[in-house]
């Protein structure tokens, strides 16, 4: 789960990591009063769950109150499309107004989980301000890493060794190591999957986190109740939001028209692959989970039929704990009051699949049965 920059900076403040002085504004009027309070030139930053804001007008320098009014009016209420957003962008509901920071040195700092070693890794580069992918491509030698340990956490000697390689004024070591340790602490205590500060700057002999990005691991949200409150439902696709409420694993894809409903993540990926082999494209990834009941299947099916991109629906269920007959009833429930709906192709195998086919045949739903995925691919082609 992602949170906004201003929320991440609030967490930084709690842990004693320096951030620029600033406040959030919900409208241009508030933006002006924040600026007056700060009594300085400010940066206006659109709050959306995406990087790359600067390149598309989501970060602007305001010299005076006219600027701050204009920029915040332009941002708030609009959708911001960056190179990282899908579909038609993300809505800006708030802007962060911050005092301008003079920059002497820019660093890149991140903590993430290294799955190979099974340890958190601290990544730092002197090429701050650039995207890490770009640095990795152009100057991989400029990316330095130190590893924590799940049980020992991050040892100070590693930070000392890292600092030696950075060519930074030695008197700044204490500040540096304190920031690294604090970021690491947040990473562990808040069950993060990523903390990124890009850039971390040196300004008047002080380190300041100019930007802040924090992602929390979804599987750990049950014990991060405070973080749960920071969830912003406007920053995800409405259909994905609906799926989230019912604990369905759903990802909307923006260039396809075959709606897929599958049980099991692997089988769901395979089903997507097969729609592409058939010369079509999937409109979504959807795993209803191993033990979905009738209501969950109904909801899943509704989400797919609500997607206006969907022209054909492919249902691929392999009954295990999941019973195909119960799933069939879920589908019937979802279509009960619908007069029109896309063509449906259904593959039902495993537990109670024959019963499912009987129930669906007896209902008045128009559904084409397929033997297996190869057969289903053929039938999608015929329809399209």
């Amino acid at each position: 789960m992602q949170i906004h920059e201003f929320q991440a900076k609030n967490i930084f403040k709690e842990y004693g990591i320096p951030v620029p002085e600033g406040e959030i504004a919900n409208n241009p009027q508030e933006a002006i009063s924040v600026m007056e309070k700060l009594n300085s030139k400010v940066v206006v930053k659109a709050q959306v769950h995406s990087g790359g804001r600067g390149k598309v007008g989501g970060v602007k320098l305001a010299e005076n109150s006219d600027d701050v009014f204009r920029f915040s009016s332009e941002m708030i209420g609009r959708k911001l499309v960056t190179n990282q957003t899908a579909g038609n962008g993300l809505p800006v509901n708030k802007v962060l107004i911050e005092k301008v920071t003079e920059i002497e040195t820019e660093l890149y700092l991140a903590v993430t989980m290294d799955y190979e070693s099974g340890s958190p890794v601290v990544i730092i580069s002197t090429e701050g301000g650039m995207e890490i992918e770009t640095i990795a491509e152009k100057n991989p030698e400029k990316i330095l890493k130190i590893f924590g340990d799940p049980l020992l956490e991050l040892l100070p000697y590693k930070i000392r060794k890292l600092f030696e390689k950075l060519n930074i004024e030695p008197s700044l070591y204490k500040q540096f190591s304190s920031i690294i340790l604090k970021v690491y602490k947040i990473f562990v205590e808040k069950d993060c999957s990523l903390i990124e500060i890009n850039p971390l700057v040196i300004s008047n002999e002080k380190f300041i986190a100019l930007d802040a990005k924090i992602s929390i691991e979804e599987d750990a949200l049950f014990r991060q109740t405070k973080i749960q409150d920071l969830f912003d439902s406007t920053q995800i696709d409405p259909l994905e939001l609906e799926a989230l409420k019912y604990d369905l694993s759903y990802v909307k894809l923006y260039d396809g028209d075959v709606g897929c409903m599958v049980n099991g993540a692997g089988l769901a990926m395979a089903t997507m692959d097969i729609t592409v082999k058939a010369g079509t494209k999937p409109a979504n990834f959807l795993d209803v989970g191993g033990s979905a009941d009738q209501n969950k299947i109904k909801k899943a099916f509704e989400i797919i039929t609500e997607d206006s991109d969907v022209k054909v629906i492919l249902v691929n269920l392999f009954g295990g704990i999941l019973r195909c007959d119960i799933a069939a009833q879920g589908i019937i429930e979802a279509l009960k009051d619908k007069k029109e709906y896309p063509s449906i192709i259904g593959v039902f195998r495993g537990t109670n699949s024959e019963e499912a086919k009987r129930i669906l045949t007896d209902s008045k739903i128009k559904l084409i049965f397929a033997e297996d995925l190869i057969d289903a691919a053929k039938k999608i082609k015929e329809i399209e």
Binding site: A86, G118, D191, G264, F285, I321
Partner: protein, 290 residues
């Protein structure tokens, strides 16, 4: 005996909730020697009238000699359950639980390093050995049959998909094992390939991988220099968008090496036979067996 079990293997099931009870019952009726169950608060009672339930794993090991553990404990308590089994001297642990926080799993892996214990999973369907009628997990026994093919996969339902195709073509399996969809996990493809290579009952190996991580790359390296048996590999997720989690916590494209196409390329060059789609696995194996 095929991989993972021997004539003295005795199973303890930990976590008798709705799914745990249902699945333990299925394991038992298939023929698996379940000697005990663990569910704090239910010690002294019996599961299905015959299997003694204990409050702790240690008691269950001391009393019944259990040496293989099957865990269905919910994610928030799974770390505790796994470590309890390790500390009680269980040799093989299968953890079915889905959704364990990554940091809990990194602690588990760090703790068990160097200890004489094998962890399978988490977030996996476990394993089944058809010849011995032994099942530790949730793979439906109705679809398996005994024969020469060893199946290993990161995905539960895709394991079933492969098994059904094989069984329908009259080709049996030596053992089927799901290693799980989480990024931090116990037994790897490499571990499983080693077991299948050493196992006399296994003649051909099916390996089903997916996007994310480097597990398939490690497998490819291992196949190249250590596996003499034919390996049929299939990778799913070729159409998954970058940066989005495809159900499994580990199935996410984060860079070039995480891509399905990249994994297929390295597996191909390692000598593995590629099944372009999971629907072709059965036929590819049939061709090899001709």
């Amino acid at each position: 005996m095929t991989i993972l079990i021997h004539s003295e293997t005795k199973m303890v099931v930990q976590g008798l909730g709705r799914d745990g009870s249902f699945q333990a019952s299925k394991c038992k009726s298939y023929g698996t020697p379940i000697v005990s169950a663990v569910h704090p608060g239910r010690g002294g009672l019996y599961f299905e009238d015959s299997v003694p339930i204990f409050d702790s794993v240690e008691e269950s090991v001391d009393t019944t000699g259990a040496n293989l553990g099957l865990i269905f404990v919910p994610a928030p308590f799974a770390l505790d359950a796994i470590i309890e089994q390790v500390d009680s001297g269980i040799e093989n642990i299968v953890c079915i639980t889905e959704g364990i926080p990554v940091q809990d799993m990194t602690k588990v892996m760090s703790y068990i390093e160097g200890k004489k214990v094998r962890l399978i999973g988490p977030n996996c369907p476990g394993f089944i050995c058809p010849k011995e009628n032994f099942k530790a997990g949730i793979i439906p026994s109705e679809i398996v049959s005994s024969g020469p093919v060893g199946v290993v996969s990161r995905s539960g339902t895709l394991t079933y998909e492969a098994i059904v195709q094989l069984t329908n073509l009259g080709i049996g399996q030596s053992a089927c094992i799901g290693i799980g969809g989480d990024p931090i996990h116990g037994t790897s493809f490499v571990d499983t390939l080693r077991m299948f290579e050493e196992d006399n009952d296994t003649k051909i190996i099916v390996m089903i991988g997916e996007i994310g991580g480097l597990r398939e790359q490690h497998a490819a390296e291992y196949i190249k220099s250590n596996v003499s048996k034919p390996v049929v590999a299939c990778i799913v997720g070729q159409t998954a968008p970058s940066g989005r989690r495809m159900g499994h916590a580990g199935a996410i494209v984060t860079g070039k090496s995480a891509l399905a196409q990249e994994k297929i390329k390295v597996l191909k060059s390692s000598g593995a036979i590629i099944a372009e789609s999971p629907t072709e696995i059965g036929y590819v194996i049939k061709e090899i067996l001709k």
